[in-house]
């Protein structure tokens, strides 16, 4: 059994409530560094809620309450004096529907560095180029950096959002169904990108598309009704899962 300090994210008995409703029931798991971990499960099972606890985006909801520990690099992010703003620099997020700002491509990617105080043009130019290259979209947009990000296609917009997140240099990237609104070709570009990015970042992805989880992830966690049912290497989950519930879900025999 690995020392909990080795895993990038260590969750112990995390329970999440919205008012009186329990959305997550005593989740415990370890997420290793620089691998892709996928969360699967039917709608409403809590996988997105759990994802959002990792960068405290759930704080935006008034009735949200969390109990238990979520340790990132050994520090519990729900303890009293945590700087949430800093946390979100370290733990970036890509959303289901791409949400670039109504600004130019350049300004979108430079947004993060700018709010962190980097104003030097040469510096920003470098960061923007590096991030767009990492997001595999540099060649497509390098001649139109000043044009509006909203003029791009859905798949391109999503990659801009990825570049934007990369520009703040996070450790962990959370992806909430990043390709669900995209066509197959864009989807496969995003999946390729995930494959390349995992060499540098820890990636956690929520998806309702099981084949996507199977294709892209190293580990898979199956959630159902707010509970973590099973978590294991992806190849094990998809060839020989331990729990019948997992088997029923992935073979489509649910309900």
């Amino acid at each position: 059994m690995k020392d909990p300090k080795d895993s990038k994210v260590f969750v112990k008995d995390l329970s999440v409530y919205y008012g009186q409703n329990m959305a997550l029931n005593s989740i415990s798991m370890e997420i290793p560094e620089k691998k892709v971990t996928a969360f699967i499960g039917p709608s409403g099972c809590g996988k997105s809620t759990f994802l959002r606890t990792l960068n405290r985006m759930n704080d935006l909801i008034d009735s949200f309450r969390a109990e238990g520990e979520v340790k990132i690099d050994g520090i519990n992010i729900y303890q009293k004096n945590i700087d949430v703003v800093n946390l979100r620099k370290k733990v970036g997020m890509i959303f289901q529907k791409s949400n670039p700002f109504a600004k130019s491509i350049y300004e979108n990617v430079a947004y993060g560095p700018r709010i962190n105080g980097i104003g030097d043009k040469k510096n920003l130019d470098e960061i923007v180029e590096k991030s767009l290259k990492q997001a595999a979209i540099w060649e497509e947009v390098k001649d139109r950096l000043q044009s509006s990000a909203l003029s791009l296609s859905g798949g391109q917009q999503q990659r801009i959002c990825i570049a934007r997140t990369l520009a703040v240099n996070p450790d962990i990237i959370l992806m909430d169904e990043p390709a669900s609104a995209l066509d197959p070709i864009s989807t496969s570009k995003i999946e390729e990108l995930i494959h390349d990015l995992k060499n540098f970042y820890t990636i956690i992805i929520v998806t309702h598309n099981m084949q996507q989880a199977a294709r892209t992830s190293d580990l898979t966690a199956f959630f159902y009704l707010g509970e973590l049912i099973e978590m294991d290497k992806t190849r094990t989950i998809f060839t020989n899962p331990a729990k019948k519930q997992t088997e029923d879900y992935i073979t489509g025999r649910f309900g």
Partner: protein
């Protein structure tokens, strides 16, 4: 009757309404134009009224309106914008403060403009001004009388609800996921407002503000007892001076001038100037909105 007939009838009714409105607008413009265009001239804009308002120009009224509008804007817009930002971004739906503010705004918005005038008189002049005079001017009458400052502040109260409502509405049009994107990048709430929300709603903010201003520029009742004057020999050079105003000028000339018939051309011309003023303010709003939108979509 069948659906097609219904469609046609509705279309015709709508067209008729539009035509009616257009007709009214055009009628007003045409009547004013016919009555007043001969009087328009460079002298008209730059000289004072003479011979008991029957001749001369409306220069002081133009300046007075401009100054009052300026002070009103400076007072109303920042306060209104900040209140709107608070209501849209910071206040929780349940907070008592937010509910109170909204209620106040709604109520203010329907108060008849003359009431504002009375309030201005009773509060700003008779209370604040009077007490300022007691404290700073040892009882001498200085602030306790109608002035540019009090009239502008009174007018600011009238336009405040409009500014708040239109700014809040435009802020709310910025989609939630853009805010989330900003926060997820490690921005603070204020950074998000400053760099994403406000730029994203700037067209709405500007349009709403300009419309509020143009409303204020034309109102007469609130400035009746708080600062507008019938005739002044000079333009105001300090906040405690009184001022002339286009709207008030028209009112005075049509009801209290020495010779109503002789002043008729001037009335028309002044009305025309006021219309042009409000119209150009609206045009500025439209053009601004167009240019900002173009810039954002390039």
């Amino acid at each position: 009757m069948n659906r097609n007939t219904k469609d046609i009838i509705i279309t015709l009714l709508t067209a008729a309404c539009v035509l009616l409105i257009l007709f009214v607008i055009i009628a007003i413009l045409v009547i004013t134009l016919i009555g007043g265009w001969k009087t328009l001239s460079w002298e008209f804009f730059t000289s004072f009224p003479t011979h008991g308002m029957t001749k001369g120009g409306i220069f002081p009224a133009i300046v007075g309106t401009a100054l009052m509008t300026l002070v009103m804007t400076v007072a109303a817009v920042p306060l209104g914008a900040i209140t709107a930002i608070y209501l849209a971004e910071y206040a929780s739906e349940k907070s008592v403060l937010a509910k109170t503010i909204r209620f106040a705004v709604k109520t203010l918005a329907v108060v008849p403009s003359i009431i504002f005038g009375l309030f201005g008189l009773g509060f700003f002049i008779k209370f604040v001004g009077f007490n300022m005079d007691r404290i700073f001017y040892s009882g001498n009458l200085h602030w306790g009388q109608p002035s540019l400052l009090w009239a502008s502040l009174t007018m600011a109260l009238l336009t405040l609800p409009i500014v708040i409502v239109s700014v809040e509405e435009s802020i709310r049009t910025v989609p939630r996921d853009m805010r989330e994107a900003s926060l997820a990048l490690g921005a603070t709430k204020w950074q998000t407002i400053r760099k994403v929300v406000i730029p994203g709603s700037i067209t709405g903010i500007l349009t709403g503000t300009i419309l509020a201003i143009s409303r204020g520029a034309g109102e007469v009742a609130p400035i009746l007892f708080t600062g507008a004057a019938y005739y002044l020999a000079d333009i105001p050079d300090r906040m405690s001076d009184q001022f002339m105003s286009l709207g008030y000028h028209i009112y005075i000339m049509s009801t209290q001038s020495t010779n109503v018939d002789e002043t008729l051309p001037i009335q028309f011309a002044t009305t025309l100037v006021l219309l042009l003023l409000t119209f150009s303010l609206s045009m500025v709003a439209v053009i601004l909105r167009y240019r900002i939108r173009k810039k954002a979509n390039r």
